[in-house]
Symmetry: C2
């Protein structure tokens, strides 16, 4: 029970202090979430209320099932972008079909996450390497910011890739609405200033840290209020400024995702990608915050928590959600102690949905776009290119491929190509493993590469340390290598394969070892193994190899060396 309902754990010891802290955090997060929720709904191509609905039921469900104390679940930028890309393929924006498809996406995503959680398959998130994630987040940030330029210009351009968006903007450049542009640019400039300089400015004015912090977080609210009032007072909607308009004044409605086979079929792959990306983003945030307080996150239970949250979104008029970085950090910094803070945030947003929605009638879309642009430019971090370039060309090329394909082809293709390239490069690297010929480091029982260290060798005895697990991708490589090394020197009587770095021998490699043994027997050369690890040895003893091997299996390389050297009369030479 405790495993599936973490709430039973923290709920039992809930204190008055924790309650107070959670309430303060909830107020701050609610203020921050109102404009953000509207903005991300806009990014996802959905009506503004969908963003608020997506923050209510999901937060509560995560509070029941999630293991992180500080994670705040709801719409996030990258997932909103992926939602727009996926749903845009099956329906047009503004139609009822579009909203239903978004519900279906949340439903499929929630179901997939739950399934992974129950089957404890959270490890599949590991297929996204750090460089691929970093590249994808950066590219998404660029795409999102670009996608908002149309709202700043007030033109109806579309597109899901960078070239499409720029072509769209370019062809509509003459239609730019100058009033919208003025609102958009000033909101953007103001929000950048708030982000960069407001806190320092307030501190210089002598404002204490906490209120300064809250004021900084309320920056987007100020922009919303100011531009809304400007539109209302000067009747700017008449001048062509696009506004949010009517937002229904209601609690989240009960909705049904569409489950027709065609819809499910075309949204299944995007749903899986959204789930995995969302899970990786969420778990990284949760683990970072948990480590600061030495708390533990259970990745499999997190899958269940996020799965429940997405199912909640699917049935209450939302769209796919996950644990967001910005909102979670704000929640943590504001002092949230338990998931109850999330529940209080949900109550705050429910009140906003019922009472405050008429107030945003005159809110210009350009302001929401400015909020998004300022938020996502923080995601863009091209330093990953330099870091991976210096460390490893393989990782670098995975980053470049992910960024380029995401920008030029789309988000799903971007993630997929990053993952596939990472896997291919890893397999390629292991297909030509490093094999070191080793000798004894004098005065020790330690063996190292004869080309890197001053070691003792013995001409009749070759020891090869294979620096890779042996499996189908490199099985033939080993055959060729030993064949060519042994035919090089006629005096070779014994070959030792030092297996200290061999973590697996699969069936293909077993057959290769049998072939090697067979050929060396024909050439009257002994084949020995040393330092075979327990799990590998267990498996080899189940095969014929250990009985047909023409040599011995030694516990340590030193033992093999001592034994086989004693048998041969030649002298040793220090290289």
């Amino acid at each position: 029970m405790l495993r599936y309902f973490p709430i039973l754990d923290w709920g039992r010891s809930y204190t008055r202090t924790a309650l107070a802290n959670d309430l303060v955090a909830a107020v701050i997060v609610t203020i921050m979430l109102i404009p953000q929720s509207l903005a991300y709904a806009l990014l996802a191509g959905l009506p503004p209320e969908a963003g608020i609905y997506a923050s209510i039921a999901p937060i509560i469900l995560y509070a029941v099932f999630g293991t992180s104390r500080a994670l705040a679940v709801g719409p996030v930028a990258v997932v909103s972008l992926m939602t727009a890309a996926a749903v845009g393929e099956v329906a047009s924006q503004g139609t009822a079909g579009y909203a239903v498809a978004a519900l279906t996406l949340a439903f499929l995503s929630g179901g997939f996450l739950l399934l992974l959680g129950v089957l404890r398959l959270g490890f599949i998130a590991n297929f996204l390497s750090h460089p691929v994630i970093a590249g994808f987040i950066t590219a998404s940030g660029i795409l999102i910011a670009t996608s908002q330029l149309k709202h700043i210009l007030g033109v109806p351009a579309g597109g899901h890739t960078l070239p499409q968006m720029f072509t769209g903007l370019w062809s509509h450049l003459d239609d730019t609405n100058l009033v919208t542009l003025a609102i958009g640019l000033s909101a953007t400039a103001f929000l950048f200033w708030v982000r960069k300089s407001l806190k320092a400015f307030l501190k210089r004015l002598g404002v204490p840290s906490l209120p300064a912090d809250i004021l900084t977080k309320a920056g987007p609210v100020a922009a919303v209020v100011a531009t809304t009032l400007a539109v209302q007072i000067f009747d700017l909607a008449e001048q062509g400024v696009k506004i949010v308009g009517d937002v229904p004044q209601s609690l989240p409605p009960l909705t049904m995702p569409g489950l027709s086979p065609e819809l499910v079929g075309s949204l299944l792959v995007p749903a899986i990608l959204i789930s995995v990306i969302g899970f990786v983003e969420s778990i990284s945030v949760a683990q970072t915050l948990a480590a600061k307080k030495r708390q533990r996150i259970d990745p499999d239970q997190e899958l269940i928590g996020l799965g429940a949250a997405n199912l909640g979104a699917a049935f209450t008029g939302g769209y796919p959600v996950t644990g967001g970085f910005a909102r979670s950090v704000v929640n943590y910094d504001a002092g949230a102690e338990t998931p109850a803070a999330g529940a209080f945030t949900a109550i705050g947003l429910a009140i906003a949905a019922v009472a405050l929605t008429p107030l945003v009638y005159f809110l210009p879309n350009a302001t929401l776009a400015a909020t998004i642009i300022v938020a996502v430019l923080g995601l863009v971090d091209l330093s990953i290119l330099k870091k991976t370039w210096e460390y490893s060309r393989a990782d670098f090329s995975a980053v470049v491929a992910t960024i380029a394909v995401t920008l030029l082809v789309g988000v799903e293709a971007g993630v997929a190509s990053g993952v596939i390239l990472s896997v291919m490069l890893h397999l390629y690297k292991t297909s030509r493993p490093h094999v070191a010929e080793v000798g004894l480091v004098p005065g020790t029982q330690h063996f190292r590469n004869i080309h890197r260290h001053k070691v003792v060798t013995e001409p009749t005895l070759v020891t090869l340390r294979v620096d890779e697990s042996l499996y189908f991708v490199n099985a033939r490589f080993l055959e060729d290598l030993i064949q060519s090394r042994v035919t090089e020197g006629c005096e070779i009587r014994n070959v030792i394969l030092m297996f200290s770095a061999v973590n697996e021998v699969d069936y293909s490699a077993l057959e290769s070892l049998e072939a090697i043994n067979h050929r060396l027997t024909d050439m009257d050369v002994g084949l020995h193994l040393s330092e075979v690890k327990g799990p590998v040895m267990d498996r080899l003893t189940r095969s014929h190899l250990t009985t047909t091997l023409n040599g011995q299996v030694f516990l340590s390389q030193f033992e093999a060396w001592e034994h086989l050297r004693r048998k041969s009369p030649n002298q040793t030479a220090v290289q």
Copy 2:
């Protein structure tokens, strides 16, 4: 020059003895190839002469570019089956488009093989693990034998999967032509008897080994002659026995593969699969035969040889070819010394194409089908299931998936699912690596698993030997593992990661190591590395890790142990 034209190597030292041996081998192989070529063309859905044409130019081109002395190139069963499956998707059997598509397939396959050879990318064949190949060949044998039953029954059933074929046969069962069935069954029985018992029978009669061998090889020719005469004499074609009919009497024609974008687009993936399967089959045969005479095969040059052979097939009325197992072994056993034997075989087949084709007018298809069935049942070897089951469940499931998908869905899906499953299982295994806590084997400098060996340990010092390369798939796993091990015992002062089995640390794992270092520093625990291999150390020194590491990097684990133990006052305990 020598690299790309191996003919310059053996051609220079060609002797009279070699010539005599090559001629004898060529005669034997030619006799065997005439019925086989006709039969495989039938299997591929092509007119019978295509099989002979596919054996002429390709053999000569392989003799110029190939490195194997005994490999015989031409149509083979598995590739013929794959050709039928691929070409059947774009054209109907018997149409001109069908033959053109087969040429295109050979052209694409040849181009792809040449490209791989020039780029020296032969390693991609390694993605086919031994179990996947064994499973695929077995399943293909079953499919091929089943596909020939319609010729034995004399009914027009079709289908490319086992269920389709059986449904087809079942629905046509009433149409069975009893005369055809009688011919087919007796030919099959006769060929089985020839294969199993003729040689022993002839030896008992006192026939020397070589003639007995040649007579056995000529078994299919005897079946062809007998059934052809029977059809001609008793006018069985009138009774509905399907016969080969008119075969043009000509040398291979000059043909052009179709290169329209749609055709190329729909045949590209099958062509790549056929190339890879054909290459793997061919290189295995070539290496087995070369090893017997201590000759060397250059896999990249083999790609060029097979590529040239397939291009030759594309322009001379053939279809995809590769080095066949049966024909190569016969060639080798018959004493072929150089690729000139292949060239003489080509001359023999050219003579057959011009002079002998009218003789096969009355040859019943049922006899060809019997030839195929007897040949391919030798491919079916279900023992791989037992062998892999005993050795490794992962390899076993790859075999089962390959066999099941090949039989039920098709040859391309079968290979693809085998490869994908092998890769996924490998990644899954490496995602949860074996990590051993090790201690010192008393009286040595050797460290082994504390749970398997009697070793000395030290309570303040934990040494973890990670038995896997560290890369994105398992980077987070290591973080979790160390975190939980260190929080287990409060007295732990130092952690040594023994890197003897770590062959790679990619960027994701580097970030994980940095995170581990950071957390351990916070907990006042030292993090040390030991036995880091040269290539891994080279890379780590390029990162920040070596400077930020709170502990040291030791050359050997023993050195680390001695150094860190001296610093702590606790006693050691033998477990």
